[in-house]
């Protein structure tokens, strides 16, 4: 990325005004992908001075500042406890430790990357996003709506829940993007399922969740049926990493394993 001017914003209002004044002004998060961007920025606005790099417990939620690095999240004791540590598992599977020391969760979220390992996990936890102007919004509202692109993500709020969790990333090599990533959780008796990198952006499996959450008891047959419903519902495709059919088979296997794990199911 070619940058004409780099500005350290003094507060969120200044950063927001700068972002709005020119469509070629951008907020910089960690900058991990900056090098690969072909865009040019008239003004690159840094939020470094605004204290958005803290992880705190407030009320019944864990709040992760948008500028927290993936490395900070990976080593945070509170997040290690959250849903069996699935966010830590997802984050620690991303690239190497050196990249994770600069990449931020805010950058990962605002990038809406289809290969993101973070979205499936955030989708199966009780997650909301807090923006400077538009306030607190649901994760799905953000993912389905482009209007947040010219706002500033301030923090990510996750209900401090000790529910069960499962995360699986399948990749060809440790440094590669996912072939597929899957997250499951169970909180207060309800399952939550999400599949990402299909190769489309992660999506909750609503019909499969409706099916399994209506059952009074689960067995091998119902788990298999639920996995089939995931494949029917979610759109899978082929790309240079894997075929549609391979992704569908992986999804069936890991959704089944996820349901078994979060429900402590024993055959």
């Amino acid at each position: 990325m070619k940058v004409s001017e780099y500005i350290k914003a003094k507060d969120l209002n200044e950063a927001y005004e700068l972002l709005r004044e020119d469509r070629k002004n951008y907020i910089i998060a960690g900058g991990a992908w900056l090098k690969l961007s072909v865009k040019s920025a008239n003004k690159l606005v840094s939020l470094d001075a605004l204290g958005l790099d803290k992880i705190v417990v407030l009320g019944d939620s864990i709040e992760i500042g948008a500028l927290c690095t993936l490395g900070q999240i990976e080593t945070n004791e509170l997040i290690k406890q959250l849903y069996d540590g699935i966010l830590v598992q997802a984050v620690s599977s991303i690239m190497g430790v050196n990249i994770r020391n600069i990449a931020t969760i805010g950058g990962c979220v605002m990038g809406k990357f289809s290969f993101s390992d973070i979205f499936p996990v955030l989708e199966v936890m009780d997650t909301t996003l807090v923006f400077h102007k538009q306030g607190e919004v649901s994760l799905m509202d953000f993912l389905n709506n482009p209007k947040f692109e010219k706002d500033i993500l301030v923090k990510i709020k996750i209900k401090n829940n000790l529910g069960k969790g499962f995360f699986k990333k399948v990749a060809i090599t440790a440094l590669d993007f996912s072939v597929i990533n899957i997250a499951c959780s169970k909180t207060d008796g309800l399952f939550s399922l999400s599949v990402g990198s299909t190769p489309y952006i992660a999506s909750p499996c609503y019909k499969a969740m409706d099916y399994i959450n209506c059952l009074s008891d689960i067995n091998l047959e119902s788990i298999k049926e639920c996995a089939n419903k995931v494949v029917e519902e979610i759109k899978f495709s082929s790309n240079n990493r894997a075929s549609k059919e391979y992704r569908e088979e992986l999804a069936k296997v890991y959704i089944s394993r996820g349901i078994k794990q979060v429900s402590n199911y024993e055959n």
Partner: protein, 150 residues
Amino acid sequence: MKIKMTVNNQVKIFECEPSDYLLDTLRNNNYVSVRRGCDTTNCGVCTVLMDGKPVPSCSVLTVQAEGKQITTVEGIQEEAEKIGNYFGEEGADQCGYCNPSLALTVYAMKKELVNPTIKEVKKYLVGNLCRCTGYISQERAIMKYLGDKS
């Protein structure tokens, strides 16, 4: 623009452009142990320590490093020599291109992880590629270095 940072415990002021990356600024100022590899955040050969943590200098803008403590392999000379000796003993010293970045990452890992297992070591070093692919001898050398309490 002028950017002030501390490199190997010495305060430095570098003249740079907003688009300049730390890798280029360091190399242009004779810190040539910082190597250019893939230049796309993958290989880790440009790793330096920023406030004690390994980061890819090819992907950090120089302006982002303002006020930070930057360490290149020259800044950990004694430990780097120790690591290098283990590499030599285990036949892990091959073309040597990745050695400075690997030494810095191993040094940071030793401070961060307590008695890591080989699996944890491998995971920590996943972002440091060796073009000679001599990972087994490197692993042996690193495990010996981590066990060295001297």
